[in-house]
């Protein structure tokens, strides 16, 4: 395939794009799990439930709150690149060696998840207390209230900010190039060293990230609109 310059660089860069997308998907999956777990852990302790919960539940909640808060503060308080280096360079000393891909997915996911936890917490706390009271009056159990009443309403509010986080995650995937994973940015760097066509390479790379981010934003906008159909006050 012979494309005119600068497009001849595109196929080589596109090979890295696949790895970037893998990082994005893997990171998003980890972030979803970590964000939901930590977000619920933090919000359940602060939401005032009706009636007095059993002692074991109270202790469990306090423990979940402490653990989630420590996680969120630690990952929001340091930078993603420092976390990546720590997991990749320092963690082997403690007996856990990760591949570049493993460290990338884990750190990107945990980092985004820490911000996601705050999104989840905000959304859960925004569900009016009357909803829980009404569910209680209908005889639903705590677990049912959470699953059937609180979470479906909270989920709607989570979508727009979670979409922003996904785009931040996409941008952060470039960081993994610093631990020698051949994703898009690493390809660009390698190509620069090889061909010295610096302007073309980095302009194309920026354009690829931009198009990807715009496509994500467009897709997320559609999801948001679809979810908001027939609901008052959703999607905001």
């Amino acid at each position: 395939m012979n494309l005119p310059p600068p497009l001849d660089l595109l196929p080589i860069l596109a090979e890295g794009l696949g790895v970037t997308l893998e990082l994005l998907a893997g990171g998003a999956a980890v972030a979803l799990v970590a964000g939901l777990a930590a977000g619920l852990g933090r919000s359940l302790a602060t939401v005032t439930w009706l009636g007095e919960p059993p002692r074991a539940a109270r202790i469990g909640r306090r423990f979940a709150y402490g653990l989630s808060t420590a996680y969120v503060e630690a990952f929001r308080g340091t930078s993603a690149l420092v976390q990546l280096f720590w997991f990749y360079f320092a963690l082997p000393r403690l007996g856990l060696s990760l591949t570049a891909m493993g460290a990338g997915v884990l750190v990107l996911g945990l980092n985004t998840g820490a911000y996601g936890a705050e999104v989840v917490r905000g959304a859960v706390q925004a569900v009016p207390a009357g909803q829980r009271e009404a569910a209680r009056a209908l005889g639903l159990s705590e677990a049912q209230i959470l699953r059937r009443v609180v979470l479906p309403q909270a989920a709607l509010r989570m979508v727009p900010p979670a979409g922003n986080l996904l785009i931040e995650l996409l941008k952060n995937t470039a960081l993994v190039s610093t631990i020698a994973l051949t994703e898009l940015t690493f390809r660009a760097q390698a190509l620069r060293a090889e061909t010295l066509r610096t302007v073309e390479i980095f302009t194309l790379t920026l354009a690829m990230y931009f198009v990807l981010a715009q496509a994500l934003a467009w897709g997320l906008g559609r999801v948001e609109r679809r979810l908001a159909v027939g609901r008052a006050g959703g999607g905001s």
Binding site: R93, L175, V199, F202, F210
Partner: protein, 235 residues
């Protein structure tokens, strides 16, 4: 390296040895953070004002610049400035290139903060300024911005913390800031655990302390009335 002394899990002696070099790195980190923030405050204001321009082409261009800068990775932007600028005859030191890249990236976020502040100024203020025959420049300088900016101070503070947390990226264009110091130390002694952990702790302590400070400022400025909603969209 002396294997016997360094075989334990955490070596306090090594950690103590590493600290002075890390503090040297921290000085560079703070320098870069403050300079980049100053740059972002000025250039961000430029974007925000241009987005309110009466000319459609100017508005549109400013909007696109902000959008492109915001939706591409800072790391690639740093590479762009560091490697492309010399080709057009502009050779920058790593620190200058880093400050420029960091500042430009965050100018887009700062512009959004200013924009929410400007949007929060009631329409009547613009109309009154026009009725008083003020020029557009005077309206911005004397009427709109003095009301728009104070309520955004907490949000701007959060951007400052975000710049601080993104400053380790300058390590990749060979600025010897905090993270690069740790990496150099680790490579030299074949031990990354102590310097990397210390770097993480330094970042954690400083950013937690500054977040607390921002929250306090928020409470002070909270009484300014129509403080516009600041939705933190980004880390």
């Amino acid at each position: 390296m002396n294997g016997a002394a360094r075989s334990e899990l955490w070596d306090w002696g090594y950690a103590r040895e590493a600290l002075p070099a890390l503090l040297d790195g921290l000085v560079v980190t703070l320098e870069a953070t403050v300079l980049a923030f100053a740059f972002a405050l000025v250039v961000g204001l430029l974007w925000a004002v241009l987005r309110r321009s009466e000319r459609r082409a100017v508005r549109g261009t400013a909007r696109w610049i902000v959008e492109v800068v915001r939706s591409t990775p800072l790391l690639v932007q740093l590479y762009f400035i560091f490697y492309v600028f010399p080709e057009i005859g502009l050779v920058l030191s790593p620190l200058v290139a880093g400050v420029l890249g960091l500042g430009l990236h965050y100018s887009a976020y700062v512009a959004e903060v200013y924009r929410s502040g400007i949007d929060g100024v009631p329409r009547g203020q613009w109309e009154a300024a026009r009725a008083l025959n003020l020029t557009r420049g005077q309206t911005f300088r004397r009427i709109v911005l003095p009301q728009a900016i104070p309520p955004t101070i907490p949000a701007l503070g959060n951007r400052l913390i975000a710049i601080f947390k993104d400053s380790p990226l300058l390590a990749v264009i060979t600025v010897t800031e905090l993270l690069r110091q740790a990496k150099l130390l680790g490579a030299e002694h074949f031990r990354y655990l102590e310097p990397m952990t210390l770097v993480g702790l330094i970042f954690l302590v400083l950013s937690l302390a500054s977040s607390r400070l921002v929250r306090r400022v928020e409470r002070w400025t909270g009484g300014l009335g129509w403080a516009p909603a600041q939705r933190g969209t980004t880390p």
